[in-house]
Symmetry: C2
Subunit: 212 residues, 2 copies
Amino acid sequence: MDQNKIPQATAKRLPLYYRFLNNLHHQGKLRVSSKELSEAVKVDSATIRRDFSYFGALGKKGYGYNVEYLLGFFRKTLDQDELTEVAIIGTGNLGTAFLHYNFMKNNNTKIMMAFDANPEKVGKDIGGVPIYHIDELEEKINGVQVAILTVPASVAEGITNRLVDVGISGILNFTPARITVPDSVRVHHIDLAVELQALVYFLKHYPLNTEE
Amino acid sequence: MDQNKIPQATAKRLPLYYRFLNNLHHQGKLRVSSKELSEAVKVDSATIRRDFSYFGALGKKGYGYNVEYLLGFFRKTLDQDELTEVAIIGTGNLGTAFLHYNFMKNNNTKIMMAFDANPEKVGKDIGGVPIYHIDELEEKINGVQVAILTVPASVAEGITNRLVDVGISGILNFTPARITVPDSVRVHHIDLAVELQALVYFLKHYPLNTEE
DNA sequence: GATAAGTCGTGATTAAATTCACAATTATAT
DNA sequence: ATATAATTGTGAATTTAATCACGACTTATC
């Protein structure tokens, strides 16, 4: 709650580290070096050491990092034990993909409910998550802190306003609309079309080594 | 093909600018200032001016930017007229979401085909895109430059190797696996679980203004 | 033990991106 | 015409992130 000194770039990599440490732990590995981890997560080893160092001296010189210790440390740091409740708004293919994704494996987040405007979907549940009608948003969403917005762009702004009014803390916005929220709400945009176009642009303008 | 001087951060924002300029054009707007655009795309206005300036002096002082001119310029710059062929690997919910997304509206990319291991899906088509069996990958994928990888993590590495062998240029990887490719292939990772966890981490550790 | 090999943590450096701030120019109003 | 307001383009400053490079320490080997 106080670690405001951790760079944002580092914070974004933490969940990635956490997942790979989990993998290593399941594989029975006891120790890992920044070099090994670097190859697995595709992040420079000096960057990994720097990232870890913001949390203190977690490793041992000449040895590396103890997987179990590091994992336990990150579990605490990423608040793995404190649950964040999530709602999916819009159960099209993208929303449904989230519902099937088993987030609880590595995460401190739980998808509690989903909303949709289609009466045929309402009342059913997907992967154990109940689907309510979007009209019931205000009534049902109590306690949810994060919304994953997977609705058509045309209704994104209206639903965002309702989420804000109901006191949501964060929104993961998958719609192409750039939604407007008060400063008290954090929004991360993931724009699939932009990601694809950006990749294409890089391919055309930033040639890579062609010898293998 | 030669504009290697454009910062990567700028390149990533270009598709976003392009889409919003398109919106403005459809709304009949003739001019736009960096300030207006800033509010729409949520990027600082000085950053927008700086981004545009890499392409020369596109605006007029005291006036702003001519929407039609700017749009035409970006169309050329983003190679809107030169088509990049795309394949979807894995037609689960996420892959299907892409198939339904009408990329052709703003884009220079076309989804030509999809692959899946499930015989029930093979032979059908979704949104006009044919679905082939994954065993036919090598035979069918000719001419495709970009693959969108939406398969289970367990098969990600194997399929990646086949894509590399077949000469793919870019991969948009939605699996949690950090795939390994030769330097000649560009990979962008979009890791949905990491995005969600990072948002949660920011909410807990980087408090926002709570007064509205 | 003594020596060699491995690895961290970090000061210093470099690179990349953002933001400030203002002269120059254009548009608009009177 | 003239004055006022708007807005760009960019040099300079700042901020943020990545990388280099090495001393200090640990482990493994003989």
